[in-house]
């Protein structure tokens, strides 16, 4: 009865593991959790289907319903203005899944299980944010295909892909905000609302759908021109339409790095303390 007691067969049995080992585990644990979250999308294809149909409908509505009116203010072809913007919108809205997903995991006690395992503390969150980012990327690729069908063209493939990469990087940063919200809200139903609500002002009071010059209220215009969604949307739009503006790119990257630098530690801090009920 006394032998065997304090050794676990596969883990390191209560010894401190090396820093390198722990660094590696951060990575592998994240992959394990990411795989788990991707299975959910793979096995409930309706999640992906509707998440894809919605932005495509947005794309068509805006192009054909508002396109005529907006063309005057944007100058060129509205689809070339709109698609990069809608890509950002899609990526923002996809991040709401992170909020809901974490709240559901919390309410079902799965987070408790993860937290009782000797795994990396950041991995549960990183696995979630990266899976949701991949899902966002998938949706965006479909949007680009839909865009091509109705007349969108990359001016230059190289800078276009760079724009896509920047959009996805921004989406990844935003999922950390969503993760933080999910860990504070905890209730899945509330998370449905909380995951989206803050995205609306950021999405619409931005240069995603219309040029900010058309906003007449000065305070609104000042906000819209300087908030990160517009900064990213403008940069992505420029890249996709063949304009490379280094200042803009640097500013975008700073925003992305800043968001991750604030919200990743905050989410991990919250995760270590969160209680299911």
């Amino acid at each position: 009865m006394t032998q065997n007691t304090f050794t676990a067969t596969f883990s390191s049995g209560g010894r401190e593991s090396s820093a390198l080992q722990r660094l590696l585990w951060n990575f592998t644990d994240t992959l394990v959790v990411m795989r788990r979250n991707l299975y959910a999308y793979q096995r409930q294809p309706e999640l992906i289907v509707f998440a894809t149909i919605q932005p495509v409908i947005f794309l068509l509505l805006f192009t054909y319903v508002f396109g005529g009116a907006i063309r005057f203010s944007t100058g060129g072809d509205y689809i070339n203005f709109l698609l990069p913007g809608i890509i950002i919108q899609t990526i923002l809205f996809a991040s709401a899944n992170t909020t809901v997903g974490l709240a559901v995991d919390l309410s079902r006690g799965i987070i408790d299980r993860f937290r009782s395992l000797p795994m990396s503390r950041a991995a549960v969150l990183a696995g979630r944010t990266s899976a949701d980012t991949l899902r966002g990327l998938f949706t965006v690729l479909i949007m680009i295909v839909a865009g091509y069908i109705i007349g969108f063209r990359f001016e230059d493939l190289g800078s276009g892909l760079a724009g896509l990469a920047l959009a996805v990087a921004f989406g990844y940063a935003v999922t950390w905000i969503s993760a933080t919200i999910g860990l504070f809200v905890k209730d899945p139903e509330a998370a449905q609302v909380a995951g989206f609500i803050w995205l609306f002002p950021l999405t619409f009071a931005s240069s995603i759908f219309v040029p900010t010059q058309t906003m007449t209220e000065q305070w609104l215009r000042t906000f819209a021109e300087n908030q990160p969604v517009s900064v990213i949307a403008n940069t992505v739009r420029d890249l996709m339409t063949g304009t490379v503006n280094p200042d803009e790119i640097v500013l975008s990257l700073l925003w992305i790095a800043g968001i991750v630098a604030v919200f990743l530690p905050m989410a991990v801090w919250r995760y270590a303390r969160v209680a299911s009920r």
Binding site: T5, A8, G14, R15, D29, V32, Y39, D112, R113, L117
Partner: protein, 332 residues
């Protein structure tokens, strides 16, 4: 630290705002034994388990598991513990096998070992057939078994089971008891919380009774019962109409006011030495021509123990009779 006790909590305090979930609780779980933590809903059982399992930080107190300070070395504690909580914490979308494989990988087992362990556990918990179906198709009992299997993937030396049978039907519960018994037969230290007195009696080597954040009693099931220093005599009279007179007649023999149920004709006496009293019971009832339908001498149940310690009966959800009395017509 005491090496004979794999689970130690000393003077643990945890308040949530005004609610004193734990108000200075001390428990010690002997290595290789089953410690039952018994108490009604809201007694603080889950809070204590969460603290021991590194999920929650106490306001004050000392906690160690497997000789490791839980507050200082969380990650090391996590290497040696297993936890199965109240609601089965398994992924609905994944299959049973994938759930177990995932947990194994998160314990940093190599893929092959994680696979083998998953197969082994599915077998052990009679889930092999359902192993490749998504968990959302499982019954409540199957989920609990899978949850339990997930908690022992890394063969933990200390296991925490928080109300492992709450919500299961009687058959699934008894099957679960059997599983838990096998699980701990190899020397795993188990802390088991339960609201079911019967469950603690069945599984635990030692029982700590907890209520409103305090330990109110502690000992083996027999010790807890012995503290009452009484046997019980259950009498059922043939004619329920005579219940009251039987009770009056026998009350001098009882150390407490007899409990009666005059619909069924039950009278329960608490007595010092049952064997001697039983003859007197028969003689007294016979002298008054009260016929006995049934007569039993027994040790007190844990419910009676709890009642005598706290002055409040535990409401057992399943045993609670449905109120279906006749409606009284209101006089107009």
């Amino acid at each position: 630290m005491n090496n004979n006790h794999a689970i130690i909590a000393e003077n643990v305090v945890k308040h949530f705002g005004d609610i004193k979930a734990l108000d200075g609780v001390s428990i010690a779980g002997e290595t290789g034994k089953v410690l039952g933590l018994l108490g009604p809903n809201g007694a603080g059982k889950t809070t204590l388990v969460r603290i021991l399992a590194t999920l929650l930080k106490p306001d004050s107190g000392v906690v160690s598991v497997g000789g490791i300070d839980v507050l200082r070395h969380k990650q090391q504690v996590r290497e040696i513990i297993g936890l199965a909580g109240q609601n089965a914490a398994v992924d609905e979308i994944l299959t049973g096998r994938e759930n177990l494989f995932m947990v194994g990988r998160l314990y940093h087992m190599p893929r092959r070992d994680a696979n083998m362990r998953a197969r082994e556990l599915l077998e052990q918990f009679s889930l092999t057939e359902a192993g490749d179906r998504p968990v959302k198709t499982y019954s409540g009992g199957m989920r609990r078994r899978l949850d339990l299997a997930a908690s022992i993937v890394a063969r933990p030396s200390v296991l925490f089971l928080d109300e492992p049978t709450t919500g299961l039907d009687a058959r699934a519960r008894i099957a679960m008891w059997e599983t838990i018994r096998e699980l701990v037969s190899d020397g795993t230290t188990l802390l088991l919380t339960t609201q079911y007195l019967e469950e603690a009696d069945e599984l635990a080597d030692r029982i700590v009774v907890i209520d409103h954040g305090h330990v109110i009693a502690e000992g083996t099931a027999d010790q807890l019962k012995a503290n009452m220093a009484a046997d019980f005599i259950d009498i059922t009279v043939a004619d329920p109409a005579q219940t009251a007179s039987a009770s009056t007649l026998l009350s001098p023999l009882s150390t407490e006011t007899p409990q009666i149920d005059d619909l069924r004709g039950h009278v329960v006496l608490a007595v010092d030495s049952g064997a001697q009293r039983i003859a007197e019971v028969v003689r007294l009832l016979d002298s008054q021509d009260i016929h006995i339908a049934e007569l039993n001498l027994r040790r007190p149940t844990l419910n009676e123990v709890f009642l005598s310690i706290t002055g409040e009966a535990i409401v057992e959800e399943e045993a609670k009779p449905k109120r279906r009395g006749p409606f009284r017509r209101r006089s107009a």
